[in-house]
């Protein structure tokens, strides 16, 4: 139903999620964000997420704030399908550090870490 993976081998920590994200997956999401938090660059790839509720969104917002607060750089790739809707309803698609694709996000993260 859902899958959340954390890959810290690339130059950025990459959290890739797919499927349906609601309160049931809160612990998995929290663990993944926590595991990524120490990296200077964090990518959250939600491309394959098919559903997302406010619990999952709240955890994402918290992760973005924590990375920001530590001076790290984070990019979020929004869901490709209808799960993107919650970002539009809350206008967070205009507030969060969104990248249009995983490749662009990684390029931006590499660019910022080279500075």
């Amino acid at each position: 139903m859902h899958r959340i993976a954390l890959d810290t081998n690339e130059r950025a920590a990459v959290v890739t999620a797919s499927g349906e994200l609601d309160a049931f997956v809160a612990d998995d999401l929290t663990d993944a964000f926590r595991g990524a938090a120490d990296s200077g660059g964090v990518l959250v790839d939600l491309t394959a997420v098919s559903f997302m509720d406010s619990t999952a969104l709240g955890l994402l917002v918290r992760a973005v704030r924590e990375v920001d607060a530590r001076g790290g750089v984070i990019r979020v790739v929004l869901p490709a399908g209808t799960a993107r809707r919650i970002f539009e309803l809350t206008t967070l698609d205009r507030v969060l550090p969104v990248a249009s694709s995983r490749a662009k996000a990684l390029a931006e993260l590499e660019g910022s870490s080279a500075d």
Binding site: D22, A23, T82, R85
Partner: protein, 144 residues
């Protein structure tokens, strides 16, 4: 006026939130509900059920969430009911039009999302003074 009612009841645990969305998919079959509207309605019912799971059973381990889908000629109603200790925020705050949906604070964001999706939202205490009933109505374009 034709009305069909589908009822679902599940323990107040996040494990079962998916059931509300699956039931809704079944109910929406044959209704004039496109993929985008279905996604919106899934979000609304999940937010209501999530609030019930999160807030309704702070003090008691066991509780259940009831969901009723009422299909009428011109609308779909989704009624989410819990028998817990109730939400601790004044109902007027939850349904107020100008509450900003930006901050994901304890259910307030969920209510703001629901309000943005459905046409009518009514939040009240349960009949016996316990729990909360969230009544959502979405009017549908006439079936072809």
């Amino acid at each position: 006026m034709n009305e069909s009612v589908v009822r679902l009841s599940f323990p107040a645990k996040a494990d079962y939130l998916l059931l509300a969305r699956l039931a809704l998919s079944g109910v929406a079959r044959g209704l004039p509900v496109g993929p985008e509207l279905l996604a919106d309605l899934k979000l609304a019912v999940t937010e209501a059920c999530g609030n019930a799971v999160r807030h309704a059973y702070v003090d008691s381990a066991e509780g259940s969430v009831g969901v009723a889908f009422v299909v009428a000629d011109d609308r779909l109603e989704m009624i989410v009911e819990d028998n817990g200790s109730g939400i601790d925020v004044p109902v007027e705050t939850l349904v107020s039009e100008d509450a900003a949906p930006i901050e994901p604070v304890d259910g307030g964001m969920g209510m703001a999302i629901i309000r943005a999706i459905v046409d009518e939202l009514d939040v009240r205490e349960g009949a016996d003074g316990h729990g909360t009933v969230v009544h959502m109505t979405k009017y549908l374009e006439a079936a072809k």
